[in-house]
């Protein structure tokens, strides 16, 4: 038969063929995905799809959160607006209470209605210590379903910024399916029959691909008039960027979210490949790459020295040489362009740094760093050698190249930096235990609030192991207090926020606990062979992020799927 069988929430039983491992889809007829109904993407999934557990945001199959499970809000970083999604609205009804109105008529893929119980259940999962948002319960007192469409949250401390982040970042899971699961199951379960509220459901997977199929009756079609266009989304597991490039050129890939150096040539050439901007930087910015100095080590404990380092780095050379202009040099604050409004330009122009070898030399000399042994490199103030290692994970070639540029610039300014490429494990070890001099890092992504970055830079206390924040072990109580103050600012209080950020930026630029280098791109290259109307900077095109990256669907990635159009369709 040629009629595609109705997709169901449950993965179909494997069709006895026993061919390369993947459970075969329903019916023999759809041996191949019809090209014009399928969206091929890549650049998200770094390993074979192994779980569909939305709590495992870092390694669940792409789209588990976003295509299957949905969040309460979407956040649009370009315009700094929250789009109600599963929620219809959310308001602070008091100093410490927040009330959420849920959308009506939303059903889970198995037909059960979505209710306030599901939201409460999901939030309460955080009471399990190993659930990533367990810390929420450090300042949340209780979550209760006032009625099936209303949830009320009572906080012990109103961290507005964090909460705003939470509501668009976490997927709601169905209580009727998840309740009774053990902590181990919740955290480590495969959840191989994901039942969500989103537009897609599981179709099939293999080692090198994840296929989703559109499901009927997605609430947004009726409620918002939005409809995802591709019937199938096949997300190709990255084996290498090279494969992605090959597929893209052969029109086998519609959206590549891989970092494809050299893509500038393809955009300029006649290959039918676009990026968001038709000219440098080609990509939207997604995160900031920082050079993190270990502020507990000599001579990096000296802000003057750190400033000299900052001034010695030829960021432009990295941007052009290593990245072929696919990225942008970062501003001295490191805040992404989307957060420009939180940057106090006055502070920046007064205290900011820029690439200037001579100035770096002068800074060093002024601070008392001299070259005593005549090797062209300065020593510590006590005369001992100041040879610093910059660690970058082995195999991360672009960073390896970048670190060479950094070292080169530093040498020119008289600072002895050698790049070193330990394995990732070893690097993580050194980084978290503070046994390093300099390290490159870009782990914080774009979000609704610059608080995210400041939390990353200034968080206290400094522990024995610094796992995800403040790798440089920078201790400044005042700054951390300011960061916490920022957390308490209302999301819509832009002025209030800016006042705090301006204070923070002063400290930041005086002390340089981290040195922002460049903004990594939101790698996206699109092909118009099958799907058109991709988001771009051109007028009249959608402005949602053209990405399938994990945690980006709720930043508007899912909207992109509703905007694209089949060629000729």
């Amino acid at each position: 038969s040629t009629t595609p069988s109705a997709p169901s929430g449950a993965p179909p039983a494997s069709g006895g063929a026993g061919a390369p491992s993947a459970p075969a889809g329903p019916g023999a007829a759809d041996a191949a995905f019809p090209r014009n109904e399928t969206l091929y993407t890549s650049g998200t999934q770094w390993g074979p799809p192994a779980n569909w557990n939305p709590l495992r945001t870092w390694d669940s199959a792409t789209g588990t959160k976003g295509l299957v499970y949905e969040t309460l809000f979407l956040y649009d970083p370009q315009n700094d607006t929250f789009t109600p999604w599963l929620a219809e609205s959310g308001d602070w009804t008091g100093e410490d209470t927040y009330e959420l109105k849920l959308r009506q008529g939303v059903t889970w893929a198995d037909g059960k209605p979505f209710t306030a119980d599901d939201v409460v259940f999901t939030v309460e999962l955080g009471k399990m210590k190993t659930v990533p948002y367990a810390n929420l319960w450090g300042w949340l007192e209780k979550a209760e379903a006032v009625d099936p469409a209303t949830v009320r949250f009572t906080f012990s401390k109103a961290n507005h910024q964090q909460w705003a982040n939470w509501v668009y970042n976490n997927a709601i899971v169905p209580k009727h399916i998840w309740q009774g699961r053990s902590e181990d199951d919740v955290m480590n379960g495969v959840n191989d029959k994901p039942v969500g509220t989103g537009p897609y459901t599981y179709h099939s997977h293999d080692q090198d691909r994840m296929a989703w199929v559109k499901r009927d009756g997605w609430w947004a079609t009726k409620a918002l008039g939005k409809d995802v266009k591709p019937k199938y989304v096949v997300d190709i597991v990255n084996s290498s960027n090279e494969v992605a490039m090959g597929l893209l050129l052969q029109k086998g890939l519609d959206l590549s979210n891989n970092f494809l150096p050299g893509v500038a040539n393809l955009v300029k050439g006649n290959f039918g490949i676009q990026t968001y901007f038709p000219e440098p930087p080609y990509m939207l910015s997604a995160n900031t790459a920082f050079l993190v100095p270990n502020t507990k080590r000599k001579p990096l404990d000296d802000p003057a020295f750190r400033k000299a380092v900052a001034g010695a780095i030829d960021t432009k050379k990295i941007v052009e040489g290593v990245y072929g202009n696919l990225v942008k040099a970062a501003s001295p604050t490191g805040l992404l362009p989307q957060w420009d409004k939180y940057v106090d330009q006055a502070v920046v122009s007064e205290k900011g740094f820029s690439f200037d070898t001579a100035k770096a030399r002068k800074l060093l000399a002024d601070a008392g760093y001299k070259d005593r042994d005549g090797d062209g490199l300065v020593e510590n103030k006590d005369g001992s050698k100041a040879s610093l290692k910059l660690i970058v994970p082995a195999g991360w070639t672009d960073w390896m190249e970048a670190s060479r540029v950094i070292a080169e610039g530093a040498k020119a300014a008289g600072i002895d930096i050698t790049p070193d490429f330990p394995d990732f494990n070893a690097l993580v070890d050194q980084r978290s235990s503070g046994k390093f001099d300099l390290v490159l890092n870009n782990e914080r992504q774009l979000s609704n609030t610059p608080w995210m970055y400041y939390d990353y830079i200034f968080q206290l206390p400094v522990n024995k192991q610094q796992n995800t924040v403040n790798f440089g072990r920078y201790e400044n109580k005042k700054a951390w207090d300011l960061v916490q103050e920022l957390d308490g600012k209302k999301v819509d209080d832009a002025e209030g926020m800016k006042k705090v950020t301006s204070e923070i930026q002063k400290i930041q630029l005086d002390d340089l606990p981290v040195i922002p280098l460049w903004y990594n791109g939101l790698w996206a290259q699109t092909s118009t062979a099958v799907w058109t109307n991709w988001p771009s900077s051109a007028p009249g095109t959608p402005k949602s992020p053209p990405t399938m990256w994990r945690n980006w669907l709720e930043l508007g990635g899912v909207l992109t799927l509703t905007e694209i159009k089949p060629v000729g369709g």
């Binding site: 192994a50 955290m187 796992n467 995800t468």
Partner: protein, 331 residues
């Protein structure tokens, strides 16, 4: 005979022991904590949450036990066929991942080994026949064996794949396909299989051809060949005998080359992103998934050992000299 196999088994057993132990030891004595790097990938913002997860996963992977106990558990699990859980593809069991990759690797290895062995030997024997053939075929053989597997693979991928567009250059089957037993799908599989196969085949082919050519020259100089020639036997018969005898050392050669061929398959798979073990190993390395790396490595070791053992048996079966020597009937 019993003693012979007893001794072989002892060697294999010891090798296995050594391999397992090395395999178990290295990740545990190397810098870095796999759980920690797994969590650093998880990118969880709150240090407190990270700590909890860390304790949880350390216990989950059994890394909190004393070393001797971990070693014991490792062996016990091994005998249950349990190679642990992958970190990279959490929570898939390592055995699952390997079993999924193995068919692809075998589909490359078995035909390329057997065919290259067969064709290389034939060709080598054929080349040794005439001077001009020898002089043209030999250099080709040498260039082929000297070619790094991945380079030949890259050249083929570039020439036949990217430029000519005849063959796909990556993956096991098209992304538009879904596995089933239709001609279309099988054809697609074959199309993806061909280039990696060809590059493995060609490199190995050159080696066998040269080995055979050198071997057969020795055999043609052997006393029995001279005797036959003196009795006026036609070249054909002499060559046939020489070929048969020259093939025997090539069987042992096969055992010796097995490791190299497997290695060749690994890098070839990487070039073509062919979803076999090599690809898996590369990913395991890139993602610091040492449970997977261990599993894949053990699997290869066991595979090579088993293949070696099979070759040993085959050799005994085909060469009367070993068989009789072992029986002790004659000295």
């Amino acid at each position: 005979m019993r003693r012979y196999f007893g001794r072989k088994l002892l060697v294999y057993g010891l090798t296995f022991l050594v391999a397992v132990t090395v395999n178990w030891m290295i990740p545990r004595f190397m810098p870095g904590d796999p759980v920690q790097s797994m969590l650093s990938r998880a990118n969880v913002s709150q240090p407190a949450a990270v700590e909890a997860m860390r304790a949880h996963y350390t216990a989950l992977f059994g890394l909190d036990l004393p070393l001797w106990q971990q070693y014991g558990n490792f062996w016990a699990a091994l005998f249950r066929g349990d190679l642990g859980t992958s970190i990279w593809v959490f929570p898939t069991p390592v055995t699952d991942l390997i079993m999924r990759a193995v068919p692809y690797t075998l589909a490359l290895l078995i035909p390329s080994i057997l065919l290259s062995w067969w064709a290389g030997n034939r060709f080598g024997a054929f080349a040794a026949r005439r001077k001009w053939l020898d002089n043209t075929a030999l250099p080709i053989g040498y260039v082929l064996t000297a070619t790094p597997y991945m380079w030949l693979a890259i050249l083929l991928a570039w020439g036949l794949g990217v430029v000519a567009g005849i063959f796909p250059v990556s993956g096991g089957y098209s992304f538009s396909m879904r596995p089933n037993w239709s001609w279309e799908f099988v054809g697609d599989l074959a199309l993806h299989w061909f280039l990696p196969f060809a590059s493995l085949f060609l490199v190995a082919f050159g080696g066998w051809a040269i080995g055979m050519r050198n071997m057969i020259i020795y055999e043609l100089e052997a006393d029995y060949s001279t005797y036959l020639a003196s009795l006026g036997a036609p070249r054909r018969l002499i060559r046939r005998y020489a070929f048969r005898n020259a093939v025997l050392p090539q069987i042992t050669g096969l055992a010796l080359q097995l490791g190299v061929l497997v290695a060749g398959a690994l890098v070839t798979e990487i070039v073509f992103s062919y979803p076999g073990l090599g690809h898996l190993i590369l990913k395991a390395i890139q993602n610091q998934d040492f449970f997977l790396l261990q599993g894949a490595f053990l699997f290869i070791v066991v595979g090579v050992l088993v293949a070696n053992f099979v070759i040993d048996i085959v050799y005994v079966l085909v060469d009367p000299r070993t068989r009789i020597g072992m029986g002790g009937e004659a000295t």
